[in-house]
């Protein structure tokens, strides 16, 4: 058991108020403990936590490029193995670095089965460059590169199902988590770093700036995502679903209404057919993962 009282992601970083990813970083390190090397990608977290000569990281931390964290981690793991060192190698990267530009390196590292844990803090867009769409952006979200307009309802594609893609690579352990459920998140991280082979965790990390909600509501928004079924917390071992958090589901409307990125679905009047399509995504999630609590 790692000492959960240790604060290995220090105060004084420059994240926005209510930043989901900053909370994720703090919780991830409570799950890994001190004996950890963190590999980062270019992104929000790198920018707000390591402006030279300052750093918020109390564990060894390295950033190389936007897209190569998984490959850098592969090299670190090989070096540690050669020298019989026991530190855990953990990538902490955003969704742009994970879903999009980093896929080649991630696919390679998982296919090779390095003993690493790759964690994606998923805030569902490229946030630090100005809120542009990524492969993790949900259907109909308005971003600066998928803006809602006269002829557009926002992002026209559903979120890429990355956990399933990495499970198909033979990942030993795949899990999803949310900053709104800290104990579950820490437990999954601890499990992943102690599971041999390549493991993947995707953390739902609401972004108050990019999604458009007050900084004090990060946890509330995170919980709403699970309660409507647009986010599911589950675990997979060796490609098989072993556990999913059950919920008493509510319609997606309240979750969508709480965020500016979906405002166009309600103003001036509700766009019922589009909201129905998003509801269908939540319904499909519920069926796929069996999360509905039978009344």
């Amino acid at each position: 058991m790692v000492d959960k009282s240790l604060e290995l992601f220090d105060c004084g970083h420059r994240a926005c108020g209510g930043c989901g990813p900053a909370l994720a970083a703090k919780l991830i390190l409570k799950g890994t403990g001190e004996d950890t090397i963190v590999v980062a990608s270019t992104g929000c977290m790198e920018v707000f936590s390591t402006p030279y000569p300052e750093t918020a990281w109390k564990v060894p931390w390295i950033h190389s490029l936007f897209e190569n964290a998984a490959a850098v981690a592969s090299g670190i793991e090989a070096s540690l193995k050669h020298n019989n060192r026991t530190e855990k190698v953990v990538c902490v990267c955003g969704d742009g670095a994970t879903f999009d530009i980093g896929m080649l390196c991630i696919s390679g590292a998982f296919e090779r089965g390095h003993d690493i844990t790759y964690i994606c803090y998923d805030n569902e867009a490229y946030m630090n460059t100005g809120i542009q769409r990524s492969g993790a952006t949900p259907y109909d979200a308005s971003t600066t590169t998928s803006p809602a307009g006269k002829y557009s309802m926002g992002n026209s594609r559903p979120k890429k199902d990355l956990p399933q893609i990495l499970a198909a690579h033979g990942a030993t352990y795949v899990a999803t988590a949310s900053v709104a459920y800290p104990m579950d998140l820490m437990k999954k991280v601890e499990k992943a770093v102690n599971t041999p082979g390549a493991c993947y965790i995707q953390i739902h990390a609401p972004c108050s700036t990019g999604w458009g909600f007050e900084g004090g509501k990060t946890i509330e928004i995170g919980k709403m995502a699970l309660e409507c079924g647009l986010w599911v917390n589950y675990e997979m071992e060796n490609g098989r679903l072993v556990k999913a958090k059950k919920v008493k589901r509510v319609p997606v409307d309240a979750y969508l209404k709480a965020q500016k990125r979906f405002r166009h679905l309600f103003k001036p009047a509700p766009v019922t057919d589009e909201i129905a399509k998003i509801q269908a995504i939540a319904d499909a999630n519920a069926e796929k993962y069996g999360i509905d609590i039978e009344l």
Binding site: E34, D35, T36, I37, V39, E46, V47, T50, P51, Y52, P53, T55, W57, K58, V59, P60, W61, I62, H63, S64, L65, E67, N68, A71, V72, A73, S74, G75, I76, E77, A78, S79, L80, K81, H82, N83, R85, E87, L104, C105, S107, G108, A109, E111, R112
Partner: protein
């Protein structure tokens, strides 16, 4: 003891003797024989290293960066398109000051696709912060690996380096080569001691982002380290000479330069042909000489100025093209700058791109063009295909 070896296999032997802890590369012609041989060595237990079979050159160098940051001596090799795919990491490795050594089996760049030799690949990354060595023959390119690690890992240098040699012409040629013993190399090249590294007992952050308040100075520091690298390479080359009888303390090699009127400047295997051509020209009364550049980065400006001081004309043979530049090649402007104010005429000749043969008669033709003041041009164009 001299033994006949393929160039690539001699390089692999040299790398084995350097005891890298991690090797990561992606196969690409004409580099492949090197990493295949290293994989065999690991499989047979002759090399105690982790061999990471990556999915691309981009990941190969990224993995090397990770291993180096974790404190290991690491090795990679590539060519041509592979080096281009690595390009972003190439700059990043230098900025992060990781002393990684990478062999470059020089090959032309596409399009059109060509597997044959020129030096466009490595020369096009001249500004990346890696030092660049060029070998003339299998012995030289093999020895340069030992020297490269020794210089790169000095704590007053900490820069990565390319050891470049002409693809096929050297990588696939069998030549007699003297490979030192493990005991000898252990005495020459001690275990790598990192300046700093990723270590949970002593946490540091590496590769952070820098605001305009700091970035400028980081680049200055890399350039300063490159200046010190010239000394480090020279000292490593001298020590190598003292131990093994082959001296590499000079960044250039001068051939029949004492009374030369016209001098060639070239890199790599072409120098052998040029030396033969010079012998023939000398027999005919033409006072020609060669300055062979071993170290292209850091550029040995003063050495070159000194070596070329007495000549009237310099012909730079360029197996590369700097498209749109006034002199056409990447080496010529540097030589011109080294000779600034001397009145010596310097011309570039782009030649031998994409594996086109360069023969002794071509060298002689180029000398005639240079003496007439015709230069900064493509040499040997086939007018009928234009």
């Amino acid at each position: 003891m001299l033994q006949i070896m393929e160039g690539s296999h001699a390089v692999a032997e040299a790398v084995r003797l350097c005891r890298p802890e991690v090797v990561s590369a992606y196969p690409i012609t004409p580099q492949t024989h090197i990493v295949e041989r290293l994989a065999e060595m690991v499989a047979d237990g002759d090399l105690d290293a982790e061999y990471i079979c990556v999915e691309s050159e981009f990941s190969a160098l990224s993995a090397c960066l990770g291993s180096s940051a974790a404190g290991s001596r690491v090795y990679s090799a590539t060519s041509s398109q592979g080096l281009m795919l690595m390009a972003e990491v190439v700059f990043n490795v230098a900025g992060m000051r990781q002393p990684i050594i990478m062999s470059i089996a020089n090959r032309a760049l596409g399009a059109p696709l060509s597997i044959w030799n020129d030096q466009q690949d490595s020369l096009s990354l001249r500004d990346s912060g890696w030092f660049q060595l060029y070998g003339e023959d299998v012995q030289e390119m093999t020895d340069q690996h030992f020297i490269a690690y020794k210089a790169a890992e000095r704590h007053d240098v900490l820069l990565p380096g390319f050891v470049c040699f002409d693809g096929f012409i050297l990588s696939h040629t069998y030549e007699p080569v003297d490979i030192p013993t493990q005991e000898e190399i252990d005495a020459y090249l001690p275990k790598y001691v990192p300046y700093n590294m990723l270590d949970a007992k002593n946490p540091i952050s590496m590769g952070m982002y820098a605001t305009p308040e700091y970035y400028h100075e980081f680049r200055y520091e890399i350039d300063r380290a490159m200046d010190r690298c010239a000394t480090a390479l020279s000292e490593a080359g001298k020590e190598f000479g003292e131990m093994f009888g082959r001296d590499y303390s000079e960044h250039i090699e001068s051939y029949r330069m004492d009374d030369a009127d016209i001098a060639f400047v070239a890199l790599g295997s072409l120098c052998g042909t040029v030396k033969d051509a010079i012998d023939e020209m000398r027999a005919d009364g033409i006072k020609a000489g060669l300055v062979k550049i071993r170290t292209y980065r850091p550029f040995p400006k003063n050495d070159i100025a000194k070596a070329l001081a007495g000549v009237a004309t310099v012909a730079v043979l360029e197996k590369n093209i700097s498209i749109g530049s006034a002199m056409k090649g990447a080496v010529g402007p540097e030589v011109l700058h080294a000779l600034n104010g001397t009145g010596i005429s310097v011309y570039s000749y782009v030649t031998g791109l994409g594996g086109r043969d360069i023969r002794k008669k071509d060298i002689r033709n180029i000398a005639e063009l240079a003496v007439k003041g015709e230069g900064d041009m493509f040499y040997g164009l086939r007018e009928e295909v234009l």
